[in-house]
Assembly symmetry: D2
Homo-oligomer: 290 residues x 4
Amino acid sequence: MEIGFIGLGHMGKAIAANLIRAGHSVRVWNRSPEAMSELVAKGARAAAKPTEVVSADLLMTMLAHDQAVRDVMFDRGVLAAAQPGLIHLNLATVSVAFAAELATAHQERGVSYIAAPVFGRPEVAAEGKLNIVVAGDAAAIAKAQPALAAIGQKTWPVGERPERANAVKVAGNFMLASAIEAMGEAVALTRAHGVAAAQFLDILTNTLFAAPAYKGYGAMIAAEKYQPAGFPMPLALKDIRLALSAAEAHNVPMPFASVLRDNLLEAIATGGGDQDWSGLAQLAARRAGL
Amino acid sequence: MEIGFIGLGHMGKAIAANLIRAGHSVRVWNRSPEAMSELVAKGARAAAKPTEVVSADLLMTMLAHDQAVRDVMFDRGVLAAAQPGLIHLNLATVSVAFAAELATAHQERGVSYIAAPVFGRPEVAAEGKLNIVVAGDAAAIAKAQPALAAIGQKTWPVGERPERANAVKVAGNFMLASAIEAMGEAVALTRAHGVAAAQFLDILTNTLFAAPAYKGYGAMIAAEKYQPAGFPMPLALKDIRLALSAAEAHNVPMPFASVLRDNLLEAIATGGGDQDWSGLAQLAARRAGL
Amino acid sequence: MEIGFIGLGHMGKAIAANLIRAGHSVRVWNRSPEAMSELVAKGARAAAKPTEVVSADLLMTMLAHDQAVRDVMFDRGVLAAAQPGLIHLNLATVSVAFAAELATAHQERGVSYIAAPVFGRPEVAAEGKLNIVVAGDAAAIAKAQPALAAIGQKTWPVGERPERANAVKVAGNFMLASAIEAMGEAVALTRAHGVAAAQFLDILTNTLFAAPAYKGYGAMIAAEKYQPAGFPMPLALKDIRLALSAAEAHNVPMPFASVLRDNLLEAIATGGGDQDWSGLAQLAARRAGL
Amino acid sequence: MEIGFIGLGHMGKAIAANLIRAGHSVRVWNRSPEAMSELVAKGARAAAKPTEVVSADLLMTMLAHDQAVRDVMFDRGVLAAAQPGLIHLNLATVSVAFAAELATAHQERGVSYIAAPVFGRPEVAAEGKLNIVVAGDAAAIAKAQPALAAIGQKTWPVGERPERANAVKVAGNFMLASAIEAMGEAVALTRAHGVAAAQFLDILTNTLFAAPAYKGYGAMIAAEKYQPAGFPMPLALKDIRLALSAAEAHNVPMPFASVLRDNLLEAIATGGGDQDWSGLAQLAARRAGL
């Protein structure tokens, strides 16, 4: 397919490279040009302006937050430059409110908007093993399937309204943060009784919690190694905030999410802003004087 | 081995049956005699009094809480009747404070005390697939190994001090309760946005959270089926209380455990006392008016 | 003074009436005209458009939330119509972010912006007994003093940056909500032990907590009378949300505020949206099955 | 009256002195004899053994916790030495479970048991201005009135069942802790926006929160002076634990109390064990990096 791609951070670079590898024709744009050069070396074409990439079958964007999407799509004129019939696949985690706003704006322009947030860290993206939650027009999703297949191990459709995919994504990240916090508190408790973190987590993550999320973060907690930050505290706070505001829109109380928000704020306020979010376990230990 | 076994609830019956199946000579006692008859039918001998079962190589007990253990071991004279050299394997989840008290009392009597709390529901026990966390004298644990092998898939030693095994157990149960609560809140959030619980949990429990704990409880939450109660709310509250008091003994704050305690109290106070603890998800939904 | 006044809700009406009573010349505007008629009957002049009221020494606004202020000041052109030298006294509780934005916009226009949020319910406003927290240019505050004196018992200056006054106001409302929640939980505890709410609150609000906030809300809790809603749940949620976002701007964790947010969401989701925020006590009792 | 008095800590000394000053005949006993000497200098007689003080009209005890009361009344034989008809006024804050146990034990002995926990710090006790919550037999309370009048400004009866008075007391202390925490969080929020703690608290504690509790603790928070500890963190933790267990006995969730418990544990674990409980405000500030 002809694919335009905007947003070449850690995730975007890995995803775009997989599209090229799968034989798609990819035109890229990124705010800082260095990342573009890397992709050009792998076979992409570079665009001089973001509006250039829309002459394609499919536009894919992987941007950091609502504001970055707003900047590219609205302020820099990408949506206005798009032709009716284009499909826009937004891979980023945006707020459910903004997802709804984007859906309306695209509809007015005759562009299909597919929310397609992904589960997986950069190394998972590099292997083409992302799990992709998609919501939007079924026919458009079907057309985008070759691109989705190139970057993920599975596509999980959740209906037509794009914000549903975003709700699933932020709820999933909330569950990850909860798993980290629960491990952190449990490790503080057992360490206080003389059991090493590695020993405790070895038992739990090989039995009841033998899942990727627990094994990966459990290893970081056991090693007390919170850097480099695969998913830094401020991004984690952003996602918990998105979960809380998506919940608030429908009056859903989330006491665990509230605890996580407070803990992430404290971690950031007390010097942990460049740690991975698994550093929540360090906070749990510090609170116990460990 | 010659094994005395006290406590034939759902878990105890399944465990004792596996001991018989493995060829051990088992003498049982239980407060209500019906359960003894079942085991006798499978090859056990019934004791008229609990003190009779101690003339064995190994005493195993599976009782519901501290008070029941205290009643049998102290008030009914089982420990006083024991000969020096006996090994007592306590399979139940008791408080860390009581675990330490038991250890001392056994030592004074010359009986080896092994804390051996297990992870696994009755059906797992029936399959002989429990995970057993053990703490106590290493030589005694080695002697008990034939019995442990008959009832569990793996034994996880965590040192000599018995209360360590109990700390691991209550911390593990705390992690289970946290996983349930996190699923419950996440499902409330996504349901409010129109995503069915089954759909959301299908995604999460087959990707990041593809672990036994999430799959099992996730299925109950998706089906909104909280009865029969594999692990009823009041027992869950007991275990969270044990986690909190074990933590308090070393000044370990556990904000997630505090939320769980409040939620379990509310669930019980508002009619959910005979539900499985996965009913915490129902509470999360009800709070959101769902 | 010549005073323009926009926003004639329960609070605004009472405040404007006191300005008239003190001899000021007051021109009013309100979105729905009925409220204007009431004030005209007391001696005010009605404006046909909000922009008309700015030809005055002082503009006072009492609007419900950020969006209402934005609508009047920006969308309806009130700020654009203002002459340099005008003083704008904003009595409403707005977000600290918006307070800063307003300050800048007014400065560019040469208009003095004074944040002047008030503590006090409508009946307190009617008695001219409000406590007014002010922040802004000291000279402008001095000029506005005759108006402030007419509506409040005391003016509390907190510096030049307007958002400080808003931070104080939302922090104060957070403390009120905390007092309500604490009474609610304490009453649930003592009722469960057989002590009537009125008896318990009689002791506490006449001894350690002999303060207006406790006496007022305590009386509502003792009577279980949460309607009419002097300060309805949704407004309370708005204010707690403002406190949380003001805190988040500086990475300040507020665990009590998080609990309050969850509880207010639940109260609203389960049918309490038209109750006074003291209805939090009803939620505390319901959770205990009382 | 003839009064026996056991327990001469800060509170007990001040109370016993007021009894002497009011003309009562007081015989004292205390574990460490120094405190007895002080009281003898003021007119008391010293007992050689605690059992000596029971030959009186009234026995008053002011001991630190359940264990201390158990030690004196049961282990040291004070209750066994008492004559039927004696009235025992227990001024301490004990658990509701122990209050019920004490009531039964006294009844079997023919001794009237009155729970009479007090609100007020040592300086308030010294002025004879305590507020005393009493529960027990009405006739016995009437007989004890001369003593109660000598030590408190008011007696608040809450019925016959002694544990009710204890429930009121621990609920009141929970409200105090909540007020401190709320001030601490509010001060962290406003300090982060540039408002000094003293300035913020000056406004709030002279308007909505013009109550003794807020003024007293507010002054300590404004001065950041948490020592000497009028009420040290570990005692505060004990009282919150008593509130939580009294609540748990009737399935009453108390989310604020849970937050307080976690915060007190953290304060103690991180070096604040010898601070006054108003040091919770320091923890709130530290969490925000202030």
